[in-house]
Symmetry: C5
Subunit: 78 residues, 5 copies
């Protein structure tokens, strides 16, 4: 997994039909940006843990989702 910090949210009105409803968050990973699906309700500035690839898509069990990056946890502040 990779860890990163949530920096914003992305909206897409024009999208393919299989895109699941829910937040798509922009996350900064050591200076690069990726966009991850967020099932946890994370906020801007939160440190999160992200899984990628087919492992991320496998989270969606009722329908096939085109998601290759998923927030799996929020990292505890220490």
């Amino acid at each position: 997994m990779i860890r990163g910090k949530v920096t914003g949210r992305v909206w897409s009105s024009k999208h393919i039909e299989t895109l699941p409803n829910g937040a798509m968050l922009e996350v900064d990973i050591e200076g690069s940006k990726i966009v991850a699906f967020d099932p946890l309700g994370c906020a801007e500035g939160e440190e999160v843990l992200i899984t990628q690839g087919s492992v991320a898509a496998a989270f969606f069990t009722k329908h096939k989702a085109p998601i290759d990056a998923l927030i799996i946890g929020s990292i505890d502040e220490t």
Copy 2:
């Protein structure tokens, strides 16, 4: 997912048979270029969201397609 800006279109007359009909767009991702299949009719300059790997190929359900990068949405201007 990764976000990028559409910079052009790629044409390939000589290709393997399983390549699906449709637009192959060149997208700039933080300075690198990738080529993604576009089922949405995006235009040059549009900001798009791209999913990669086997998750992209899974979009094609009628036949197996050799596509490892798929535009899943156009990002709303804010």
Copy 3:
């Protein structure tokens, strides 16, 4: 596989339900950081071998786990 050195542990109280119980270790890979699931009880400073992607998730056979990085061995000192 990639090799790296364990640099710490990550805790996540707020996480998706399918995250398996067990240690999530932060590992330095040639200057970049990733987080890997550790089934071996590795310690900080230990050199480890990591497998990634769906190959890492396939380690979990009883339930589907959102793990895309797995420590598969500790590297012998030579």
Copy 4:
């Protein structure tokens, strides 16, 4: 997909049994080199489109092939 320019061919007399017969071409991708299986008969200097990972391996339907990079098209000159 990624695009690149064919720079040469790689020969391997000592290989695993499941390696398919056919050309393995060296392709320059923005300064990095990868080696891709070529089912199209591309020549040195040709600009090609490459798909990667399990999507590339899925091209081989009669037997399982250890191919994670496949040339899927030659890019038209414009």
Copy 5:
């Protein structure tokens, strides 16, 4: 695939049970290091071809192996 030069061997006495018996070689890929399973008996200094990800794991047909990098051939000197 990627090509690289074998630079050494990695030993791991403490490992998960599903790690297959056989050589794990350290390979230099354009200045980065990866560790790949070697079914061919390659030697230090040899130029090899490596496949990655689930395509590498699919080489193991009798049992599921946590291997995401596999040497599939030794490159002929020219």
